[in-house]
């Protein structure tokens, strides 16, 4: 006993309060855009074809069936849609907007800042497939970063571009994974070593070798059009261009056309969000039409990573409650007005004063009156006004 299992942790009050605050502001943002909160079970039937089956914690059920702890919200929400909205799951065009927040578990080696239990907050937009829908998600990805007080940079990609270029260049299928991996690492030398022995035209080889460097501002799309000659690949570029055209202000948007190795279910555009001076992406998402559902896209935010990005900037500490109370009705009035009030452990005045000063609580509430325990704060008047407003202010 003692420490919790590897890759899990306890969250103490200051951090827990900050986490709730961040989750609440994200929920409010999504709610304001019409995304309804849903919940899905933490336990799932183990399915070897699940995109993260290899990383799932498995449990045995009573009847010898195998269960898995939830490892990803997107497949779980797709299942919910199939049950609750069979018409949409069958291809009917009707927008469903869902948001979620909760834990997921990955049975991995808990190394390099990766925990095995972590929290995801995200949204899914199901039942529509259009550039306008993609843009809504990318806009909300950007707003998510902004709403917690960070400066966003959102990067859009389309793995279809790389796939299409491989097919047009005539790269044999067994080599696609290795080439995609080299492109994903932006390793042009490794890619050259893979391409050189192949019997493909120099022109095609040069085009594929340009892909690792096709990232940057939105002008990247024009560079890509010149670097890669194939019409099928150009159609994939058009998809990205169509999404970007939806934005009036595209100054904090970026493009990476060499995003090649992503989760298996993405079939359309993908995106990630970064913030300045933080070395890891804060969220990731994309369109997965035809894999889990006929038309759907979404993104999820890793809460732990977001909190790390936030605490690098300012380590705010949760302030102690304002009032320690020996007067239950008075305490209720203050709480109703949004003031944090703690009930004193003892009814003795001396003990309560000691308790307040030890916990750093500035005021003691006794028989309808506030007493400053340490230095008098500038909110005393406001607190007294709340007590007076209920018709039985301080007496004497």
């Amino acid at each position: 006993m003692g420490a919790p299992p590897d890759g899990t942790r306890f969250v103490l009050p200051d951090a827990a309060a900050r986490r709730v605050q961040v989750v609440t502001s994200l929920r409010d943002l999504f709610h304001g855009w019409g995304y309804d909160l849903v919940e899905v079970p933490s336990l799932e039937r183990y399915d070897p074809s699940h995109p993260r089956a290899g990383q799932s914690f498995k449990l045995s059920d009573r009847d010898s069936g195998v269960l898995a702890l939830r490892s990803d919200f997107t497949p779980a929400l797709a299942q919910l849609v199939r049950l609750a909205h069979p018409a949409v799951a069958g291809g009917a065009a009707r927008a469903i907007r869902y948001q979620y927040a909760g834990s997921v578990w990955h049975a991995i080696d808990p190394e390099l800042a990766r925990t095995r239990e972590f929290t995801q907050v995200g949204i899914e937009l199901v039942g529509v497939s259009s550039a306008r829908a993609d843009a809504e998600l990318i806009h909300l990805a950007r707003e998510s970063v902004r709403t917690v007080g960070l400066v966003p940079r959102v990067e859009v990609g389309n793995p279809g571009f790389v796939r299409s270029a491989f097919a047009s260049a005539g790269i044999p299928l067994p080599l696609h994974a290795a080439c995609a991996d080299a492109i994903d690492r932006k390793d042009r030398s490794d890619l050259a070593d893979l391409l050189t022995p192949l019997q493909i035209e120099r022109e095609a080889q040069r085009a594929v070798l340009a892909i690792p460097d096709l990232y940057g501002g939105i002008e990247t799309l024009d560079l890509a059009r010149r670097a890669v000659p194939w019409p099928a690949a150009h159609r994939e570029l058009d998809r990205v261009a169509g999404v970007l055209r939806e934005f009036e202000d595209d100054s904090d948007l970026m493009v990476d056309l060499s995003m090649a190795r992503r989760l298996s279910y993405y079939t359309g555009i993908t995106f990630r969000a970064y913030t300045l001076d933080f070395g890891q992406p804060l969220l990731g998402g994309g369109r997965y039409d035809g894999s889990l559902l006929p038309a759907a896209a979404g993104f999820s935010i890793g809460l732990e990573r977001l909190m790390r990005a936030l605490t690098r900037r300012s380590a705010t500490v949760e302030p102690p409650p304002r009032v320690l109370s020996l007067d239950d009705p008075g305490a209720r009035a203050l709480r109703d007005a949004g003031v944090r009030v703690v009930r004193a452990l003892s009814t003795e005045l001396a003990a309560a004063r000691l308790e307040a000063s030890e916990r750093g609580i500035p005021y003691l509430l006794v028989a309808g009156a506030l007493e400053a325990v340490a230095e008098r704060g500038d909110d005393l008047g406001a607190l007294e006004a709340i007590l007076e407003a209920r018709g039985e202010g301080p007496r004497g």
Binding site: L112, K186, D187
Partner: protein, 206 residues
């Protein structure tokens, strides 16, 4: 607001000297550390952090350093998710299976500083030998009988010959790579992209 300086992670020793020279030719003026003990210093055009080579991928993956230099062998061993946009060409070596000269029996136990790559290699060739992780001078394991083979870096082969060992199989060829944090390449592209282009153009690099 002035942009903060680029932070580079470099392995101590010869690779550091070669890296500083390469960066200099690529237009990034970096002073050498003032003392042997320096861990982190302002080198002029960038902040330099010095560490063991096996730690470079970690610093770069987590973004504590924006970029760094490390051998491909170490990079593959750690499996770090970083960008590898330039092969600098120096610190060239092979990762090889080494045995006492003339040994023919089956390999039962392999000593190595590269347990992940050694295990992958052994499984690939259908060997069920066990892998023992050591941290230094693995040839000694072969000479003392701790292991009947080692997987290690071979540069010229001099040390092997002097100790009656021979290179049996080349597992991979390695050289120093310029590695970049995935977010930094996007957020500091103004500094990093010209640097990458210049590094690729150096003699021996690509």
């Amino acid at each position: 607001m002035a942009e903060p300086k680029l932070v580079l992670a470099l392995p101590k020793g010869r690779v550091m000297d070669d890296s500083l020279r390469a960066f200099g030719r690529a237009g990034l003026r970096l002073a050498p550390p003032e003392s042997e003990r320096a861990m982190r210093y302002d080198a002029g055009d960038a902040m330099v952090t010095l560490m063991r080579n096996a730690d470079v991928p970690t610093y770069v993956e987590l973004g504590v350093a924006d970029a760094g230099v490390v051998g491909k062998d170490v990079l593959l061993e750690t499996g770090a998710r970083v960008y590898e946009p330039a092969d600098l060409g120096f610190a060239a070596c092979r990762l090889s299976l080494v045995r006492p000269r003339g040994a023919t029996g089956t390999v039962e136990r392999v000593a190595t500083k590269y347990p992940r790559l050694a295990t992958e290699y052994l499984r690939r060739i259908g060997s069920s030998a066990e892998v023992v992780k050591l941290t230094g001078n693995v040839e000694l394991a072969c000479l003392t009988g701790l292991a009947d083979a080692v997987v290690d870096v071979v540069q010229t082969g001099e040390t092997l010959r002097a100790n009656g060992l021979e290179e049996v199989d080349v597992i991979l060829r390695s050289s120093a790579r310029f590695v970049v944090n995935r977010a930094a390449l996007k957020l500091r592209g103004d500094v990093l992209r010209p640097l990458i282009a210049a590094l690729r153009d150096l003699p021996g690099a690509r």
